[in-house]
Structures are given as structure tokens and as C-alpha cells.
Amino acid sequence: MTSDHIRKFFTISFVLGFFAYLFGPLIIMSLTAFNSSAFPRITPWECFSVEWFQFLSQDAKLIEGLQNSIFIGLGVVALAVPLGLSGALMLTQVQERVRPWYYTITIAPILVPGVVLGISTLLFWDRVGTMFGASRESIFYNGFFLTIVGQATFISAYTMLVFISRLQRFDRVQEEAALDLGATHVQTFRRILLPFLKPAIASAAVLAFLASFENYNTTVFTIISESTLTTFLAAKVRHGINPSISALAVVIVALTLFGAVLHEVYQRRELAAEKESAKIAKGEQTKRRTTNRFILDPAVILIFLVTTAGLGTAYFAGTMGLDECKAQVKAERARVVQERVKKREQKTMFQEAGRQALTPGDTEDGAKGKPAPGTSNFQGLFSPDNLEEQAGTKNQGQAEDKPRAGTEQFQSIFAPKNLEEQAGGGSEEQKKE
């Protein structure tokens, strides 16, 4: 082992650790969506289930928030794309002297905290509304309008950056050429500039939509009485969590993955087309080979099929044996609780009996009992009612049949040491004797 090897080993472990840090939380969160447990977790695994997805689709407020988010996202796209485009086009045309100022002001919203943007938008339009004597039902107090405007303030800066980088590769002489050939300014814009900017417009639109869709800081101030997906999520997460949120995350992660792959495929195809053109110009190739330019790429079809099949299987697997499995878990839990009660009784008996004499069955019981109750205890510990108490949510209304002492005991059972102590309590006390 040279120092080079050691360094390489550390570097790779570091990078792997980094990626684990990036993806670990997301993977764990995604997995919790498929566990039937009422609290999002993966240990212990109860039953594979897709019921949280069904639960999700029935949440009317979620659906409403989602619809609002999509509506707002589209509104932001409609506002931020033209604004960003004009901002980028204007950049090269403002006087040299003014340009740094112009750039600073248009870029500033990216750096301004979202909270501040939300407040200032809210205040500004409120005051404008007052100036015009507008009623509380007017547009100046409308959560959708305010949110679209507030988000577009900084999202336009994002789209502007997209356009600027694309425009840097634009040969402005082309516009002059078109004008010279008799085109009007509008014709030139439509026929020369827009086709060139088409990919940038598409990515700016996607960027704007996603940025809007996931925005929380600004939205939470401007949305007023409406709700979006993010404000809904925030409220839900704050008021107690369940795996339907994980299920939602799975949907979002899956869509993102899908989008990323699609983007990659698209880019590769563009690259291939470019290479081909270069070859043709050099005379190495006479005809274009890619005939399927407008047909879906086989890779995309394949991904689509695999995804559909996977989802279908998951759905059936998650719904079919679910009830049985749940019944089993319930039975198991009941058994564990019972066993525990029994054991506690035994233990008390033990302790009393220990002072007097030894019963031969005890050691046996202890040894045998160690592994099995250990795991089941674990499971019992995580039963939803229990958990809510532990997680600090104030849902104590349903403490029901479980006595407080029980919880305390479970907590002490939790640590393996305690576990052993309890399970093998008899033998230890034996030694002491």
C-alpha cells in the first residue's frame, strides 16, 4: 500500500459518502412510502403496501393544492419567460455605462431572501390596491396573482440567465442578414431569433415551472388564504406526519428521474446530429442516418414500458396480500403485548421467588426467549400509537388501553442491554445469589 493507494481509497470513500448523504435520505423516505406502518419508517418493516398512494389520491386538499401549484407554475412560466427574454435581449442594448447597474438590479432577486420577496410583493400590491381604492376581492389581494408576481420576480432572473447564455452563442449578424433580405423586425424575431432560442425557451420554461412548483418561502407570504402544494405540505408536515407525504415524494422523485433521463436522451441525440452534420460537410458521409428524428426514441419507449410494468407490479403486490399481512402484523403485535404482560407478571413473580428459591424452567425460558421477544418487542415499540407520543406530537387522545407504565418499560426495553437484562434477568439474579 503506497500513500497513493491510501489517498485514492480515502477519496473514493469520501465521494461515496457524499453520494450516500445526498441520496440516502431520499431513498429512505421513498421506502417509507411502501411500508404499511402508520408512521414513516423502514425499521421494522411491516407490510409492503401502496395504500399511502391511494390515500394520497383521495386527499382533496392535496389535490387542490396541486392544482393551484400547477396553475401558479403555468402563470409564472407565462410571465417569467417573456420577462427573462426581454431582460436578456435588453442587456446587450443598454448603454455601457448603465449595464453593470442594470445587471445588478435584474440579478438581485436571486440573492434576496425569498421571505423578503414575499413580504415586499404582498405590501406593494396592497398599497397599490389601496391607492386605486380597490376592494378586498380585487386582484391586488388575490393570492394567485400575488404568488405569480412574487415568484416571477426572481424566477425571471433565472430565465434571464438561461437566455443570456444562449444568446452569447447567437450570431447577431443573422438578424441583420434577415433584415437586409427584406424581413420586418417582427419577422426576423419570429423566424431567426425565436427558432434559435427554442431550446432555451424550453429549458427556461421547465426551470421556471419547477422553481415555482417547489417554492415555499415566497409563496407562504403571498398565497394568503389559498394553498399550494408546498404550503399544504408544510402544514401537513408540521401537524404530524404520515407516509402519504413519502408517497408524494416518491411520485416527485420518479417524475424528476424520468425528466432527467429524457433530457439526457434528447441531448445525446442533438450531439449525434451535430457530429453527423460535420461529417457530411467533410464529405465523409453523404446521407443523414437518423430517420427517426420525430419518432420516439426506443430508449424512451423502453423506459416507459419498464416504469409502467414496475408500477403495475408494485400496485398488485401492494394491494393483494396486504390485508392478510396486516392481520398477521396485528396478531403478532397482540401476541407480543400479551407475552410482555405475561413476562412482567413472571418477572415480578421471579423477583419474589428469587429471594426464596430457584425454579428450573427459568433459565431455559430466558435463553429461548432472547431472540424472538427481542425482535417482537422492537416491533411493538414502534406501534403507531406509541410512536406519536414519542415523536412529540400532541396526539395523546388515543393512549387507550396502554398504561403509562407500559410505555416507560418499552423505552427501557429498547436498548439491547436492557433487553438482555430483562430477558435473562433470571440468570443474572441467579449469579448474584
Partner: protein, 307 residues
């Protein structure tokens, strides 16, 4: 000036010239400059109920800024320890989170740009984008699941016997700090990656050829080259962390308030918009000062940051 506008219209034609003028003016004035100015103005006014806004009762005052420092007049403390300490902790934590992110991202960015090659590197870079587009709230939620008292981390630590009691990561802020570091880490790694990647590999090899040890190559060649990227990443991460709202709301324990949460409370619970605005201005000013400071220290222009 007249000549400039004549040229402008001539160059763009009337339709496009109007489109450019109107949309840029709307964006800059109605969306960027005026709202900020109104907010600044509002933060200097007394807190009166909305119907009285703009009337004489709605006069100018410094009370909200004073409140931030001295607290309410009824309070027995000489300073507003609650808000000041939250503010201080927010800024310090943001700095801390920024430093952690740099330390985490630089080696990875370097690895992706210059050590890994081919399809793997490309795949990894692409994979980085995925967590970035997962909602901020959901990312915080994922950490809540992991760090919960019965979350996988506690289970694991207790399971292997390091802990004998589940540890309350949420209450003591560990969850919040890791969640915040996680939340904007990609805004750190991409600028650094882009900057490091643009470095000519030959430079590194030349340095190695001259017998420079690996740490010196980084210190003298790679880091100076990546400086704009690092600065850009630091600025973005600091600003976003200091202004974060979702992660503190979800991951913050009952005692660890975040400054944005105080602003949020002023607006949504206390109904004191004026104080909320004043606090917002304070946050904005602090962030701007920080950015200017970083730009000054590292001698970087704004244009290089927002790229």
C-alpha cells in the same frame, strides 16, 4: 440620449422595442425596485391596523428597529435577548453551514471533474441534479424521518450499542444543521464543479511534474482557479440558508427558532406587518453586507457570481 432611443427603436423596430421597454420596466420597477422600497418605507411606519394605512396615524417611527435591539418597553431586560440571539445564531449557523458545504463539495467536485472519467462521471453529475429538484420541504421531511427518535439513525446507533437511549437530534439542532447543509449543497457543488472543470488538466500535470505535492497543487493551482466558483457557491448557500424557512419550520426544535420564523410569526401570528418588514430589511441588509464583504475579500465581481 434622444439619439440612443432613436437608435433603439430603429434597431428593434417599433413592436419589439415596445415589448422590450414595457416588460423590462415592469419587471424592474413593479416587481423588483418599488416593492423593496415600499417595504423599506413600511418598516419605518407605526403598526396600525390596515384600514388606517396611509392615514396620518400611520406615521414614521424607528420603533421596530429599536424593538429588535431593546425589546418592548414593558420588558425588564435591557436588550431584546430573544430576537438578537436568534438573529445571531441564524447568521452564525449559516456561516457554519456554508463552510461545511465547501469542505464537503470541493473534494467531490474535483473528483468528478478531474479524476473520474467517461460515462460514470457524466452519470454522477446528472445524478446530482435529482435531489436538487426534490422539493425543499420534502428534503427536510426526509431528514425528519431519519433523525426522529425512532428514525433509522437512532435505531442504528442504539442497535449497535453506541447509545442506550434514543437521542433527540431534533431538539438539539443536529437535524436542523444537517438538513440545512443538505438543502442547498447542490448550489455549492455545481459552481465549484463548473469552475474546477474548466481548469486545463495540463496545469495540474505540469505542477505534479514539477514535483509539487498534491496538497500544494490544490492550494496553488486548483483552488485559485476555482475561486469564482467557490465564492459563488458560498454566497448562494449563505443567502439561502440565512433566508431558509422550510427546513427550520420542519426540523427546528421548539427552542431553536430561525430568524425567518420570527418574521413569519410577526406576519402570520402577531399581525405586525411593520415589524415583519423591519426584520425582513435587517435580514436583507445583513445578506447584502455579507455578499459585498465576500466579493471584496475574494475580489470577485457580481457578474461572476451569478453565472
Amino acid at each position: 440620449m434622444v439619439r440612443y432611443w432613436q437608435d433603439f427603436f430603429r434597431k428593434n423596430g417599433p413592436t419589439l422595442a415596445l415589448y422590450l421597454l414595457i416588460s423590462v420596466t415592469c419587471w424592474m420597477l413593479l416587481m423588483i425596485v418599488l416593492p423593496q422600497l415600499f417595504m423599506l418605507d413600511f418598516s419605518f411606519r407605526t403598526n396600525v391596523p390596515p384600514p388606517q394605512w396611509g392615514t396620518e396615524a400611520h406615521g414614521y417611527t424607528l420603533e421596530h428597529y429599536q424593538y429588535m435591539i431593546y425589546g418592548s418597553a414593558q420588558s425588564t431586560d435591557s436588550y431584546n435577548f430573544v430576537d438578537l440571539s436568534v438573529f445571531g445564531r441564524t447568521i452564525l449557523t449559516a456561516v457554519f453551514v456554508t463552510l461545511i458545504d465547501v469542505a464537503l463539495c470541493y473534494p467531490v467536485a474535483y473528483y468528478l471533474a478531474h479524476v473520474a472519467h467517461g460515462g460514470w462521471a457524466r452519470l454522477m453529475v446528472m445524478a446530482l441534479i435529482i435531489p436538487f429538484w426534490v422539493n425543499e420541504l420534502l428534503r427536510a421531511f426526509a431528514f425528519k424521518i431519519m433523525f426522529g427518535s425512532t428514525g433509522i439513525i437512532n435505531n442504528f446507533l442504539v442497535g449497535i450499542g453506541i447509545l442506550d437511549q434514543p437521542f433527540d437530534f431534533i431538539r438539539n439542532g443536529v437535524a436542523l444543521y444537517s438538513g440545512l447543509s443538505y438543502a442547498y449543497i447542490l448550489l455549492m457543488i455545481f459552481p465549484i464543479y463548473n469552475a474546477v472543470e474548466s481548469l486545463d488538466k495540463n496545469q495540474i500535470e505540469a505542477a505534479r511534474d514539477l514535483g509539487s505535492p498534491w496538497w500544494r497543487i490544490h492550494w496553488r493551482v486548483v483552488i485559485p482557479h476555482a475561486k469564482p466558483g467557490i465564492t459563488s457557491g458560498c454566497t448562494m448557500v449563505f443567502m439561502l440558508t440565512a433566508g431558509a424557512l422550510a427546513a427550520p419550520q420542519i426540523l427546528g426544535g421548539p427552542s431553536s427558532l430561525w430568524f425567518t420564523q420570527i418574521i413569519y410569526q410577526a406576519f402570520n401570528q402577531a399581525g405586525n406587518w411593520a415589524r415583519g418588514s423591519a426584520y425582513g430589511i435587517i435580514l436583507l441588509a445583513t445578506c447584502l453586507i455579507f455578499v459585498l464583504l465576500v466579493m471584496k475579500i475574494f475580489k470577485i465581481k457580481l457578474g461572476e457570481i451569478a453565472r
